[in-house]
């Protein structure tokens, strides 16, 4: 679903690259955590998928398409296939819950009857039944994030990118949000989530990709937030948490 081939992204000449020849494949329907310190390249990774930025070298494939070959007027079409959720929710404060979600459908020209049918369905999925008429400021942080998730998935994208969606939420609310993201993932959506939240990662036991200084230093299935395998340089093998060896090679070795 998402494939990075030797992708390097340099924002400023002479500065350390934000991403340094990253090669990675995320399959359809997978749930992947992207972990790493601030500045490790997580956000750049997500921006490249959205074609918000252009890779300095290497290629990014989304749904089988090299995003470098997508002309600027077709970028909206690419983005319709990708939902995005942020740490700061980014709701429209003067619109109620229903209107916030409906907005994502209106701007791509969905008919009013389809909107009226789909929005309540999606709100039910994220657990906000009966709160259609609330304004964002009347909602808790967790509820606001649910609205944001509903908006991100209302057009049924194949991919959901979440940039620290639980960064502003307490642990219990965060687990609720993870439940929603998991449910969306169960319905077949590929989820990529950048996070600092070790509890969540440890709880979920999904694939973990760790970035450091723009390089992939770990890629484990069913993993924990911190590596259980000591890093032994280039030749180390990748294992998942159960100790099984993975055939998924590290980027530099591809």
């Amino acid at each position: 679903m998402i494939r990075f081939e030797n992708v390097t992204k340099v924002y400023e000449q002479n500065a350390r690259p934000a991403l340094d020849s990253v090669s990675l494949e995320i399959n359809r329907g997978e749930f992947t955590f992207l972990v790493g310190a601030s500045g490790s390249g997580k956000s750049t990774f997500l921006r490249l998928i959205l074609k918000e930025d252009k890779a300095s070298s290497g290629s990014v494939y989304v749904a089988g398409q090299n995003v470098a070959n997508i002309s600027s007027w077709r970028v909206p079409k690419l983005r319709r296939g990708i939902g995005v959720v942020f740490q700061d929710f980014r709701l429209l404060p003067q619109k109620n819950v229903f209107a916030n979600v409906a907005f994502a459908m209106q701007v791509i020209g969905k008919s009013r009857s389809i909107i009226r049918e789909t929005v309540p369905e999606v709100l039910k999925t994220v657990g906000l039944e009966g709160k259609e008429r609330r304004m964002p400021h009347e909602l808790s942080g967790g509820e606001q994030q649910r609205v944001a998730i509903a908006r991100a998935v209302v057009n049924r994208p194949g991919i959901l990118l979440a940039d620290e969606p639980t960064g502003n939420l307490d642990p219990i609310t965060s687990m609720g949000i993870m439940g929603v993201l998991d449910k969306i993932n169960q319905n077949g959506t590929t989820v990529v989530m950048a996070t600092h939240d070790d509890d969540i990662v440890n709880e979920m036991r999904r694939r973990v990709v760790e970035l450091k200084n723009g390089k992939v230093i770990r890629d484990e299935a069913k993993a924990l937030y911190t590596s259980m395998i000591p890093v032994v340089g280039e030749s180390r093998r990748l294992r998942d948490a159960s100790g099984e060896e993975l055939n998924r090679a590290q980027g530099a070795q591809l």
Binding site: L50, S72, W73, P76, K77, L78, R79, R80, G81, I82, G83, V84, R90, L92, F103, A104, Q106, V107, I108, G109, K110, S111, R112, R151, A152, N155
Partner: protein, 304 residues
Amino acid sequence: MRLLFILGEIGGGLRRNLSMVISVVLVTFVSLTFVGAAGMLQMQINQMKGYWYDKVQVAVFLCNDGSTAVGCASGSATKEQQDNLQAMLESPAIKPYINDFQFESQAEAYTHFKEQFSNSPIVDSVSEDQLPASFRINMKNPEKYEIISETFSSQPGVETVSDQRQVLERIFSWMNGASVAAIGVAAVMIFCAVLLITTTIRLSAFSRRRETGIMRLVGASKTVIQLPFILEGVIAAVVGALLASVTLWLMAHFWLNGDLSRQFLNTPFISSTQVLVIAPVLIALGAGLAGISSLLTLRRYLKV
């Protein structure tokens, strides 16, 4: 659905930026009024040229008692001098250049003068013998005025030869100057209008950056994102252009065809319907300027 959505966005944008929108309306209104006024002046000049050039005459004024010209040393023009001039006009040397001529005696000149200035107190202070008698000559080709002037100005009994066309040319060049000045003012005002539209669109884009950011992320097309902003500028400018058109029409209707045409009875003024020809030009100009400046602003300040 999308159309309704775009219209809603435009409405919201106009309401949120009301004071800026009003200033755009006013600046385009003033600038386009000047553009239109320049256009009206040109129309007026053409109208007057067409009307007057058929009627203008070359006048050979004869000496009267008060004349101070060199040819008038012997006082008022005599009957022989007058007959001599008439014979010259009918001679083969001059005749081919003129259509016809009339003699206007002092009495006739006084009558015409009274008609022309009937509203003015000047009539009371002028007596018949102060006005010169004249030959009024209609030229076949008004450009050949020099021939008459050279032949007659040195003749005894002739005070001066005047070409009415030259008087008109002075008026026209004055009107041309005025229309150039109007265009100059319009250019400055249009420049202001463009800057103001640019600023307004920038503010509008900034105040709606959340919406546009979300629109981008959910894959709204460039048109859906940008059109509301562009139309906002265009609508404001078109309202300004409409106001300018109405103002020009009112000017033509109540001033040119009202007051002025009563004061200057034999001057042909452009009609208010003729002014309506300018309106579409102004509207197109306003819409075009606003559209282009909004588009260029958005290209810089609204990433899609």
